[in-house]
Amino acid sequence: MLRIENISVKAGDSLIIKDISLFLGKNERMVIFGPNGSGKSTLIKSIMGLSGYKIVNGKIYFEDKDITDIPVSERAKLGIGIMYQNPPKIYGIRILQLAKYLTENGTEINQLAEKLRVDEFLRRDLNVDLSGGEIKRVELFQVLLQKPKLLLLDEPESGVDIENISIMGSVLNEYIKKTGCSALIITHTGYILDYVEGERGCVMIDGKITCQSKPRIVFDMIKKYGYEKCEECKWK
């Protein structure tokens, strides 16, 4: 599904990702942990092709197609969907308008909107006048309407209260079970693991992947020893 071969990524002049290789199979979920500034978000944004992140070395393949240099919209059309951590506010474009662009099936829009409790603000402008938790629900709403084969989730639970994490987690889990889509999930709190277990977990430190195991095991190790220990991890 996703194959990353020795990529190095610069944001501005700083080298953020340092020679990372990663393979994610079909129907496989990988959870990425790591301290702030370790390069997790940069990795996800590089896969999506967002500007400001320059791949200075290496290649990214999606379903065996080299996507290293293709535009963002084409990546989305191939089946990559991203859930942003901090999406921009866009005035004058309604959430519903974008939803209708993503699917012509009105019933699907309504059902998902109801499940994610975003139905009452479908007529609002994108990410305008929404709370942190509402923005996250709207993000998940949009990305699931895209029906991606690969989900890139950048801290889906940050700023979301427990009740809403449960709503989002269940909907996400249901989508993954139903479609068997792959996912790269960044998490700090680990709450998302209660809903999406994930087959693999890893830690990113200073632009490198330092250890890999089952997400729950990695998370428990981090809780126990902190990120410092990850650098000397036996699964390195």
Binding site: V72, G92, L102
Partner: protein, 356 residues
């Protein structure tokens, strides 16, 4: 009918509905000739101005030039044509009334005087489209308009301008709003033009009267558009709102706004946003607030910038090609929903803006 099919197509681009099924009245003037003026709903009058004055001589004393006199403004008296539209007391129009002022001949100077009267407790939507034919090289349009919104009356006036590179335009208008009256004025200019200078003024004379001016202006290279609105809050509990969206593709836009309180207990808000699409062009926002009293609430916000790369990419990451994403953002910026139009008119306007 002295109007050709190709001309009607032109008029439809500025919101004219030639089938007139969903219109309460209809008026077309080509250069200085009145093509027709029709009434399609009882309680509505649509007449060429000269004819109206002939039938109702009292118009001269009651309305003609009166709004300008009240705001102490000179106006051109040498005019030919224009419409007189009156909605009678208590009549609420089901469909909009439409009017078109069309420039056809080379170097023609069209000078019209329009008067719109919304009588007590009446309600109307009026859409005026102004446009020009290809042949109308270096032509000129002067539009004098006076609006009288009487007690508890409501008027939503939408003007769409669609000119071309060599045409100069000068709309001069004033509105008097009586107690409890509401005047909503929308202005849309999406095509190139040589020069437009306009500064419509609303005088809120009656208690509890309200006004809202919204404008969406696109400017292309070599266009000069000095466009603004002025509201004079002259009584208690009056309120005014001015919203403008200026988009420069290389032309010059001066976006003015002036809210002046000459009575206590008045409110006003001015919002001006500008978007620069290219490195060329100028947007100059000049918001002004003025009061003679302490007990008022006046505010303004103005912001000018470019489309943010992250906004385009956000939409692109949902599968929308970058160029289309940019158009979507510009259309969103022009947000016609701010104009509070009935669905039928909103759809017409969206058809116009969707072509951007």
């Amino acid at each position: 009918m002295e109007i050709e099919k190709a001309e009607l197509d032109e008029l439809e681009r500025v919101g004219f509905d030639s089938e007139e099924k969903e219109r309460a009245g209809s008026f077309i003037q080509k250069d200085n000739r009145i093509i027709f003026s029709k009434v399609l709903q009882e309680g509505v009058e649509v007449l060429p101005i000269e004819k109206a004055i002939e039938i109702y001589p009292e118009i001269k004393e009651k309305y003609y030039g009166i709004s300008f006199k009240k705001i102490d403004k000179e106006f051109e008296k040498d005019t030919e044509g224009g419409y007189f539209i009156r909605v009678k007391k208590g009549v609420k129009t089901l469909f909009p009334i439409q009017a078109c002022l069309f420039l056809k001949s080379k170097k023609f100077k069209q000078r019209v005087h329009n008067i719109v009267v919304i009588e007590e407790n009446a309600q109307a939507y009026l859409i005026t489209g102004c446009t020009s034919a290809k042949e109308a090289e270096n032509a000129y349009h002067l539009g004098i308009s006076e609006f009288f919104i009487e007690k508890d009356g409501f008027l939503n006036f939408t003007m769409i301008h669609s000119w071309k590179e060599d045409i100069e335009v000068q709309p001069v208008s004033a509105a008097c709003i009586d107690e409890g009256g509401i005047f909503v004025s929308n202005y849309i200019s999406l095509k190139p033009v040589k020069k437009i200078v306009m500064y419509p003024t609303a005088l809120l004379e009656g208690e509890n009267s309200r006004v809202r001016f919204s404008s969406i202006i696109l400017s292309y290279p070599n266009s000069y558009q000095d466009i603004g609105s002025r509201c004079i809050l002259a009584n208690k509990n009056t309120s005014a709102e001015i919203i403008s969206r200026a988009i420069s593709y290389g032309g010059t836009i001066i976006a003015r706004g002036h809210i002046k309180a000459i009575s206590p207990m008045a409110k006003g808000h001015l919002e001006c946003r500008g978007l620069m699409i290219t490195e060329e062009g100028i947007i100059h926002a000049i918001p002004e607030l003025e009061t003679l009293y302490q007990d008022v609430e006046l505010s303004h916000e103005a912001a000018i910038g470019k489309i943010k790369r992250e906004e385009i990419e956000y939409l692109a990451s949902r599968g929308i090609p970058e160029e289309e994403a940019q158009s979507m953002i510009i259309r969103g910026f022009m947000d016609v929903e701010i104009m509070g139009l009935p669905e039928i008119l909103e759809n017409e306007i969206k058809k116009v803006t969707d072509k951007i």
